[in-house]
C-alpha cells in the first residue's frame, strides 16, 4: 500500500535534493499507511 501523505513528503524532500534510503522510504510509508 502506498501512503499519499508519505509520498508527498518524500517527493518534497527529493525536490530539495535529499536522497532517502530504501529503509527511510519504507518506514515513512508504513507509518503514513497507519495514519491514513
Amino acid at each position: 500500500m502506498i501512503s499519499e501523505m508519505a509520498m508527498e513528503d518524500i517527493r518534497a524532500l527529493e525536490k530539495k535534493g535529499v536522497r532517502l534510503s530504501v529503509e527511510e522510504i519504507v518506514k515513512l510509508n508504513a507509518l503514513g499507511v497507519k495514519v491514513e
Binding site: 507509518l31 503514513g32 497507519k34 495514519v35
Partner: protein, 183 residues
C-alpha cells in the same frame, strides 16, 4: 531459549539494570534486554552489577551462540513491538539490522508510566498482579476502563501514530540536514 513479550517485572528489571550499568552503548543495553526477556528464567538482583554482567556474559556465550545478530535482534524487536510493516516488505534474509534497530531494541518502554496510570485509575490490580502482566495486557485493561468512562481510545492512538509519523519525518530531515522552513 525462548523470548517472549516482557512482563512488567522484566521491564522494570531491565530499566533498573540499565541505570546501574550507566552506559549509552546500545548493544550492551540490547543484550541486557534480551537477557531479561528469556521466558521462565529468574533474573539476578539488578543492584549487583558485577553479578548481572557475569550472568549476561554467560548467556551470550552459551545461549546466543549459533544465532546471528540479525536473528536475535529480529526476535527481540518482534516480542516488544510486534510485526514491523517495514520488515514485512522484504524477505527476512535480506534484512540487515541498522543502528536504529539496535537503538529501538535498547529503548526504555516507559513501563513505570503505565503502572502509575493503572494505580492512579484505581483499577483494583495489585502490584504483584501487575508485575506478572505484560505492558500491552495492562494497557488493554486501562483502555477498557477509559472506554467505559467515554474516552475515545482509538482517536488517542491515531494521534499517537500521527505524532510518530512527524517525529520520524523530522528525524530524517535532521539526518539529511534539511533546513527547517517557516510555517
Amino acid at each position: 531459549m525462548v523470548f517472549r513479550e516482557p512482563t512488567i517485572e522484566q521491564e522494570i528489571w531491565f530499566e533498573n539494570a540499565a541505570r546501574i550499568f550507566n552506559t549509552d552503548d546500545d548493544t550492551t543495553l540490547f543484550l541486557t534486554r534480551a537477557f531479561s526477556m528469556r521466558m521462565g528464567e529468574e533474573l539476578p538482583d539488578w543492584s549487583k552489577p558485577k553479578k548481572v554482567r557475569k550472568q549476561i556474559d554467560e548467556f551470550i556465550k552459551k545461549e546466543l551462540k549459533g544465532f546471528t545478530a540479525r536473528q536475535i535482534l529480529s526476535s527481540v524487536n518482534y516480542c516488544i513491538y510486534g510485526s514491523d510493516a517495514t520488515v514485512d516488505e522484504f524477505p527476512c534474509s535480506e534484512f540487515t539490522p541498522t543502528e536504529e534497530d539496535i537503538e529501538k531494541a535498547a529503548e526504555m518502554s516507559n513501563v513505570i508510566g503505565v503502572v502509575h496510570e493503572a494505580q492512579a485509575m484505581r483499577l483494583g490490580i495489585s502490584m504483584e498482579e501487575m508485575k506478572r502482566m505484560t505492558k500491552s495486557e495492562l494497557q488493554s485493561v486501562i483502555n477498557r476502563a477509559l472506554e467505559r468512562e467515554g474516552v475515545d481510545v482509538r482517536k488517542d492512538n491515531k494521534n499517537a501514530t500521527i505524532a510518530d509519523y512527524y517525529r520520524t519525518l523530522e528525524h530524517i530531515k535532521k539526518k539529511h540536514d534539511v533546513v527547517k522552513e517557516n510555517g
